[in-house]
């Protein structure tokens, strides 16, 4: 090689690699559907609080009603989605990202 590659060229090269396409697909196929899911689930809660007050006010056990349980389920779903993403990222994304980062460092250092 006569000319050392510029940083921009290295990025372009990595962008075309199968590894990167795979990484992007794995990231998006998790992040986008789950974003839509929690947003719809949250909006359902907001809409029910506004327009389904009869249903929301139904008591389940003692003074604990549907509204309180629905609200607490929003906490549960947030914790669960965060945990699922963390697991997905650790297993499915980080190893590929680390490989690509290493390839970049190697090219830049050359």
């Amino acid at each position: 090689m006569a000319e050392p590659a510029t940083r921009h060229d290295i990025y372009e090269e990595l962008h075309e690699s199968a590894d990167f396409r795979d990484l992007r697909k794995r990231y998006r196929s998790f992040a986008i559907p789950w974003t839509i899911t929690f947003f719809v689930w949250y909006m359902l809660y907001v809409v029910c609080s506004n327009w389904a007050t009869g249903f929301m006010s139904t008591d389940i056990v003692g003074n604990i009603n549907v509204a309180l349980v629905f609200g607490l389920l929003q906490f549960v779903s947030t914790f669960v989605i965060a945990w699922l993403y963390s697991r997905h990222a650790n297993r499915e994304l980080d190893p590929i990202a680390a490989r690509l980062d290493a390839a970049y460092e190697k090219e830049v250092g050359r």
Binding site: V46, I81, D94, I96
Partner: protein, 551 residues
């Protein structure tokens, strides 16, 4: 704020004042300690990028759990029952936007400010100017709400009613925050935030435990007691506050959307992701923050319903009512500590008051640092000096900017202290969701997005959200409440409002996204596409991202 508000005449003021001084001494000490390690611009702006995930998670949670959360949400639950809880849910769910779409990608592609990420592939001057203006506007709104809150709270808790003493408190808080930011930089501010978050969690756990103990850990009994004590049969159902009319329901929907989309566009939260070494630690910080904030909001639920069950929140003499809920947590602490006049009550009240004070100091420092960073890094170094300023000059400008912003905040907060400005926090979220989030998302996920799209989206979101609030009942024409208190910012009788909602998000967020789209497709500019692939690789892999500074 209200002469009827006073606290029990027992000796808690002396103890409270002592604890306040202790908080100030500890935080000043941390700041001096941190200042010895501040050398480069990355130290000043990003704490050397050397914080761990749990540390930054605590600091993020600390930045987020402002006095508005700590005192405001429990107070809202104590007064409006279930409707107060709705805030906590929006505030928490919002973190998934930050986790899934923003935190890691931003950490990999930016350096010090929110604008860095846009400037990666756009024309520097227009996008940095727009992003800096939006950053400063959001931060000043948030800052004013905190400082006015500080003035009210500190004077109430110390039993000071004199106007000039309130001004003195506001000025003292302002000068302290300028000190933290100019001397301690991001490292000092982050440590202050961590200490505060630990204090806040510990204080909240203690009071929650005592409240639950009072009801033998039977939540249902506590809820029942809240209904009985307040005499409001609908206290546990949604709609007590927002269900009164169709307008108020749409207003609540609008608030709900702004809360969930605003968090990931708040500049003082975004720049926290630059204080960690890698995108993996940025993810770790968000996970820690979600855990801490979630636990905290679950506890405020107990505090709020506990306050409704144990304190007087309805009569004409109610201190909770007179403070619009802000004193619910401190007074609940006094009650579960043994009641007014008891030693235990005085101690717990003083402790919770000191925690609230530490909260305000830490949050205002974070906000000032954010604005100062954006002025110095975006406006001075990149727009005015076109990247020719030395690091040292840039950091010096940041220090001067912090001083000026502090001064402006003090001068604005003093006249604003008699106004009802609680809406400013919700407005900050609406502006963040309308002006900042659309361009961040487009920039990361849409190749064609360009400079005009970014600029239109930021200014469009900013002007529409602030403009709609200006023409809403918050500013004029809401009239008087039954006790004769003016509910609008402008004097009663002045009415130029035409926008019916108090929360602009439902209109201004779509405007932000739509203008980002229209600006992009009407421009022939393709320059911004040249570095999109580069941004994408960098954002997802961290290749070439800013590294940790070792000393």
């Amino acid at each position: 704020m209200n002469a009827r508000v006073y606290l029990a005449e027992t000796s808690h003021e002396g103890l409270t004042a002592t604890l306040f001084i202790l908080v100030v001494l500890v935080t000043v000490g941390i700041t001096f300690w941190a200042s010895r390690q501040n050398q480069s611009a990355a130290d000043y702006y990003a704490g050397g990028r050397s914080f761990t995930g749990p540390q930054n998670g605590l600091a993020v949670a600390g930045d987020y759990m402002s006095a508005a959360s700590f005192l405001g949400i429990s107070g809202a639950i104590a007064l409006s029952g279930y409707d107060g809880f709705l805030y906590s849910i929006g505030f928490l769910v919002a973190w998934l936007v930050a986790l899934l779409l923003i935190a890691e990608l931003l950490r990999n592609s930016g350096r010090y400010t929110m604008a860095d990420q846009l400037a990666y592939r756009m024309r520097q001057t227009p996008v940095r100017t727009a992003a800096a203006i939006s950053t400063v506007v959001v931060s000043i709104f948030y800052l004013l709400a905190q400082m006015v809150g500080a003035g009210v709270l500190v004077t109430l808790l110390l039993g000071v009613t004199d106007e000039s003493a309130k001004n003195l408190v506001i000025a003292a808080v302002g000068l302290l925050m300028v000190f933290y930011v100019t001397v301690g930089g991001m490292k000092g501010t982050t440590w202050v935030q961590i200490v505060k978050a630990v204090l806040l969690m510990a204080g909240t756990i203690l009071i929650t435990f005592l409240v639950l103990l009072h009801f033998n850990f039977n939540i249902s009994d506590m809820l029942g007691a809240a209904v009985d004590k307040t005499g409001k049969p609908n206290f546990l159902d949604p709609g007590l506050k927002y269900g009164v009319s169709t307008t108020s329901k749409i207003d609540f929907l609008s608030l709900g959307i702004a809360l969930v989309l605003g968090t990931a566009g708040l500049p003082h939260i975004l720049i926290r992701f630059y204080t960690v070494p890698t995108s993996k630690t940025a993810r770790g910080s968000v996970l820690w923050a979600i855990g801490l904030i979630g636990a905290f909001y679950l506890m405020t639920l107990v505090l709020g319903f506990g306050a409704a069950a144990l304190l007087d929140t309805t009569s004409a003499d109610s201190q909770v009512l007179a403070s619009t809920g802000n004193l619910a947590s401190p007074l609940l602490a006094e009650e579960v500590g043994g009641g007014a006049g008891s030693l235990g009550g005085a101690v717990l009240l003083a402790v919770i008051a000191a925690v609230a004070f530490a909260t305000i100091l830490a949050v205002v420092a974070g906000l000032t640092l954010t604005s100062a960073s954006s002025v110095a890094h975006d406006l001075y170094a990149n727009v005015i000096k076109k990247g020719t300023a030395s690091e040292k000059e840039e950091v010096n400008v940041a220090r001067v900017a912090a001083f000026v912003i502090g001064l402006v905040a003090i001068l604005l907060a003093i006249p604003a202290k008699s106004l009802n400005i609680a809406f400013l926090v919700a407005l900050a979220f609406a502006v963040a969701a309308s002006a900042n989030l659309p361009s961040l998302i487009y920039n990361l996920f849409w190749k064609r997005f360009n400079t005009r799209g970014a600029v239109w989206s930021i200014y469009g979101g900013l002007i529409s959200s602030v403009g709609l609030v200006f023409f809403s009942p918050i500013v004029s024409g809401k009239g008087l409440d039954p006790t004769g208190k003016n509910l609008s910012l402008f004097p009663e009788g002045v009415d130029f409002s035409w926008f019916p909602l108090e929360n602009p998000g439902i209109v201004s967020i779509p405007i932000g996204f739509l203008l980002g789209y229209l600006g992009t497709v009407t421009s022939k500019d393709t320059e911004s596409q040249a570095r999109f692939n580069e941004l994408e690789v960098r954002a997802l892999t961290g290749a070439g991202s800013e590294k940790v500074i070792r000393q």
